[in-house]
């Protein structure tokens, strides 16, 4: 009776898990599948298969330029987030100062404020800066990089602080007692130990910046759109498998990044 009960619980649990995984994976599979349809207008079932949509996606300058703009913006944003996030994480984890909790909340806030709200707030702020100083920020790549750095920063801080908290402070003292100066301790001991957190933080910062639509939509210039905005613009007038091809390339890119990262720093250890 009890054995049968635990067996049925196990089957139910497995079925539920499979349903959840299916719910996540099936749409992705469909997008990839759909990108090979030869139907002129996206419909079901497929009439045949072709690679034309990939050629077309590459041929459209909006997508090609958008891809490179997104890539460049996200890479710079990730580097900015790393340069700001690493010292910030140290201050938040190791420091004991008044208002630490508040600073932490403020640094994490871009993660919880809706992108549309954050984006429009930045846009208004940039306009006011321009109004007061005559310095144009909105619609320039600087404005875009600032916005994407804000997207990247909380991810970086979240993952770096997590790995920093798990560092046994005694190992740094042990290194000191063995003759290492503070800077040597940092580069030889602390940094290598939190490396998985740094890599995972950079990865998630990059991905979340790369896939952002809401914040960017306010801040791009007329002739420089990110890949996600190019997708939305395209969808407004077209409904064919080109978007499937673009999406598939992105899924592949992110999958490869995740696999490479996991190879060099076990991601499960960073959380």
């Amino acid at each position: 009776m009890r054995a049968g009960q635990s067996r049925s619980i196990r089957i139910g649990y497995t079925a539920f898990s499979m349903a959840v995984i299916g719910f996540i994976v099936l749409p992705l599979i469909f997008i990839v599948w759909m990108s090979f349809y030869s139907n002129k207008i996206l419909s079901f079932p497929p009439e045949g298969y072709t690679l034309d949509w990939y050629r077309r996606a590459w041929a459209l300058s909006d997508f090609r330029n958008g891809f490179f703009l997104s890539l460049r913006t996200s890479l710079i944003a990730t580097v900015v987030a790393l340069c700001l996030g690493l010292p910030a994480s140290f201050a938040l984890v190791r420091g004991r100062f008044w208002g630490r909790e508040t600073v932490s909340t403020v640094l994490m806030s871009p993660m919880v404020v809706p992108g549309i709200v954050g984006g429009s707030a930045l846009f208004v702020f940039f306009l006011e800066v321009e109004f007061l100083t005559g310095w144009r920020v909105a619609g320039t790549s600087l404005g875009l990089i600032v916005a994407h750095s804000l997207i990247a920063l909380p991810w970086m801080i979240r993952l770096v602080t997590t790995s920093l908290i798990s560092v046994n402070p005694s190992i740094e003292e042990a290194a000191r007692s063995l003759g290492a100066a503070p800077l040597t301790v940092f580069f030889r001991i602390t940094l290598p130990v939190i490396k998985p957190g740094l890599i995972a933080g950079s990865l998630f910062a990059f991905i979340n910046s790369f896939i952002d639509l809401e914040k960017s939509i306010f801040l791009v210039g007329p002739d420089s759109t990110t890949l996600q905005i190019a997708l939305i613009n395209y969808l407004e007038w077209n409904f064919d498998s080109t978007i499937g091809a673009v999406a598939t390339v992105q899924i592949a890119l992110i999958t490869v990044l995740l696999l490479i990262t996991d190879r060099y720093a076990k991601l499960s250890r960073a959380f």
Partner: protein, 356 residues
């Protein structure tokens, strides 16, 4: 090996006093245990010697050299941490080599010294493992090898055995003592376990509330605790309140009777007679020639293999603990719980300790 001298060393955290004016000399090649309950200041003292905690006042010298203001990396001390603190991203050999590398020792000397250090702690075959692939005891030995390979002036050990299980602890205790003896290392060892301190140290420093309660060789401190705290902490359960009788060799218990007591310095006012359980004999019938005797009923009998411990409720209302040799080893027959028994001890057995 140099000696370590603490002169009026104190540590205050705001109004809280962690260590109050402590003066102590640890001799060349001596193993001293800092012993006390948690919060007594023993770890703070060790960390001040290691340079991880700044002193509020006072001065620390090693072999005559003032190190009070030196950072830990310039003190040349080996520190072994309670949680071993091995570098998780380095192999055992890399861990041990780290200190040599910091000293700019060349490659071939480093390799040789690391190998020797690992042989010394019997871990030569584990050189290429990562710390997480080792057991607790092995990690502890790596930590020891890493601290010793730099040929430190002083070895500092912070509760080095508390994360090990009982049998391993016994083994490591002996191993640490042997290493310390063979290298003639000046060693300071922090522990909360009086048994650990007594079995390893040349001298014990018993601390309480940031102050030194008593310093001396283990047998001296255990044999003659100077305060109720010291007696209690060293595991002497029998502390009988009373007063020494003026001019006479006697001790009046608050519970009434006068006990015979000899060879004690006079203590004025209320004090305690500390009786170690080993000095009390237990009898099934009233003994004929005892200098001190109290009757009572066995409340708890605990069998330990080689010894039997009895807790008795005496007729005068005091609870006493006696430890007898087990029956098979020449001790008296077992007395079951609830049976009537008599406790006796010689006049020379007790030690009077002041109230605080």
């Amino acid at each position: 090996m140099p000696d370590v001298v603490l002169q009026d060393v104190a540590k205050h955290y705001g109004p809280a006093v962690a260590v109050a004016n402590m003066s102590l000399r640890i001799g060349d090649g001596e193993l001293v245990a800092l012993l006390g309950p948690s919060g007594c200041g023993k770890t703070t003292t060790l960390r001040m010697i290691g340079g991880f905690v700044e002193t509020t006042s006072g001065c620390i010298t090693v072999g005559g050299r003032d190190v009070t203001a030196l950072p830990p990396n310039r003190r040349n001390m080996g520190f072994v941490f309670q949680n071993y603190a091995l570098f998780p991203h380095m192999t055992v050999a890399q861990n041990v080599a780290f200190g040599l590398e910091m000293r700019g020792v060349n490659r071939s000397d480093t390799d040789r010294k690391v190998r020797e250090a690992l042989v010394r702690v019997r871990l030569a075959q584990y050189a290429d493992r990562l710390p997480r692939q080792l057991s607790g005891g092995q990690q502890q030995r790596v930590a020891l090898a890493r601290a010793l390979v730099i040929e430190p002036d002083v070895l500092l050990l912070d509760e080095p055995l508390s994360n090990l299980d009982a049998s391993l602890r016994q083994e490591m205790k002996i191993e640490i003592r042997q290493l310390q003896q063979s290298l003639g290392l000046t060693t300071i060892f922090v522990t909360h376990d009086q048994d650990e301190a007594m079995s390893t140290a040349d001298r014990m420093v018993l601390m309480y509330n940031g102050k030194v309660e008593q310093v001396g060789p283990p047998d001296e401190v255990y044999g003659a605790p100077r305060s109720v705290f010291a007696a209690g902490f060293l595991g002497i359960p029998n502390l009988l309140p009373g007063q020494m009788l003026p001019g006479q060799q006697g001790f009046r218990l608050e519970a009434g009777p006068v006990l015979r007591l000899s060879g004690q310095a006079a203590v004025a006012g209320r004090c305690f007679l500390a009786l170690r359980p080993e000095v009390i004999s237990i009898h099934a019938a009233p003994p004929s020639d005892a200098e001190n005797c109290l009757a009572g009923r066995v409340e708890i009998m605990t069998y330990h293999g080689s010894a039997v411990e009895y807790q008795l409720r005496t007729d005068i209302g005091l609870t006493l603990t006696a430890r007898a040799v087990a029956p098979g080893l020449g001790g008296p027959a077992l007395l079951p719980e609830g049976s009537r028994a008599w406790l006796s001890w010689p006049a020379t057995a007790g030690v009077t300790v002041s109230e605080n």
